[in-house]
Amino acid sequence: MTVILNMDNRDRRSKFEELYLAHKNIMLYTSYNILKDWQLAEDAVHTSFLRLLNKIDTINDIACNKTRNFLVIIVRNVSIDMYNKRKKHSEYGYDELSEKIEDQDLSVEEIVISHDKIKELMDNISSLDKKYSDVLMLRFAYHYSEEEIAHLLGISYENVRIRLYRGRNFLKNKLSGVSRDE
């Protein structure tokens, strides 16, 4: 079938190759959905793995859902970057924040750490713009530093800090609003 898939001996394949074989389809699929071109989708996947070249040791479990999501985050950002460069303007709105986020002093005493509240926060995260949720996930769930996130997503360090700040404030605002409504 292909050169790589003909490699029978799993022991000889590196972690890097295992990662590729386990998740290449979802990465190509994600990338194709944005770029609508198979060749460009392949370029995006290749670029994503280039960015992961020195970060592979931070991935422990190759086959888990968390790793799968991580690779999708990387390839999605790479694809959007490629798309925007082709179109020479940002159609995916990753450059400017459309709504103003106000920094609210959240009263933590008002938050009850319950399963429902966590679920609401998760729903808010999933409804958050991808450019903020991706950076928040890479920072807090995957524990990458801001410099590493900048390298992985191909954006500037300042941009990473701004997105983290705005994303957190948006979620704080949502959480505070839900708590106060009750």
Binding site: S14, W38, E42, H46, I118, M122
Partner: protein, 246 residues
């Protein structure tokens, strides 16, 4: 509760929620097998990925070699420091360390340097003790030893011969301006040579079916003469190895 603590608590809650959201988002993605039928992967892409895997392997090997090299370098430095400390502090270690290799070239045995001067002591035993200055060639062909040592006025002569007493080396020296000696150069060719930084003359004469090579030279204080039936190159090497022993 202060603002920093509130912020920390919120970050911890957010971290937990994000971990769960990552897991959920990953689970909701379509499975690899489902996507296989709709995907088209080119051979060119597979080749590019193979090249990338090779790069990754090379980086891993290089990283391993670098870390190993650092460990080897540290060990080497430790051994070096230990050796230097022992050289400085322990006499026996220093003596053994400075007994260097003996090189054998074409029948020559050369002692480059030795703190243990046993060989010189053997040769010195054949030199009269009342000689105030002693010069000896330290590079002598194998099998030769001192047969006789003669003092005539200020001229000192040392005669080497081989085991069969067939080949001889006549080595003489005297202080400049105190005396002279001459060598037979009739019907021979004289060539100017240098023994170290000192100018000298080489003469090769055939006599009774054998060639005799003579070399004369001097330094600032002493004149030297070396006469032998050995070949020219060997005689020059012997001359160049003459050193002041006493």
């Amino acid at each position: 509760m202060n603002k920093e603590l509130k912020d920390k608590i919120f970050c911890d809650i957010l971290e937990y929620a994000l971990e769960l959201e990552c897991e959920r988002a990953g689970k909701e993605l379509p499975a690899e097998a489902e996507l296989l039928q709709n995907l088209s992967i080119s051979k060119e892409f597979e080749k590019r990925m193979l090249a990338l895997f090779r790069v990754r392997k090379r980086k891993t090997v290089t990283k391993y070699i670098l870390s190993l090299s650092k460990k080897v370098a540290v060990c080497f430095m430790l051994v070096l420091i230990l050796n230097i400390t022992l050289l400085i502090t322990v006499d026996a270690y220093r003596v053994n360390f400075f007994n260097l290799c003996v090189t054998v070239k074409d029948g020559f045995t050369t002692f480059v340097f030795t703190e243990d001067n046993r060989e010189n002591e053997v040769e010195m035993s054949r030199i009269p003790e009342d000689w105030d200055t002693v010069y000896l060639p330290v590079s002598i062909p194998g099998g030769f030893s001192i047969k006789n040592s003669i003092s005539t006025g200020s001229i000192k002569r040392i005669i080497y011969s081989d085991k069969d007493n067939k080949l001889t080396i006549n080595f003489s020296y005297y202080p400049i301006k105190s005396s002279t000696f001459s060598i037979d150069t009739e019907d021979s060719q004289m060539d100017k040579i240098y023994i170290g930084a000192n100018a000298g003359y080489l003469s090769v004469k055939a006599s009774d079916g054998e060639e005799r090579t003579s070399v004369v030279w001097n330094d600032d204080t002493t004149a030297f003469s070396l006469i032998s039936t050995l070949d020219k190159k060997t005689v020059i090497n012997i001359a160049k190895s003459v050193k002041k022993i006493k």
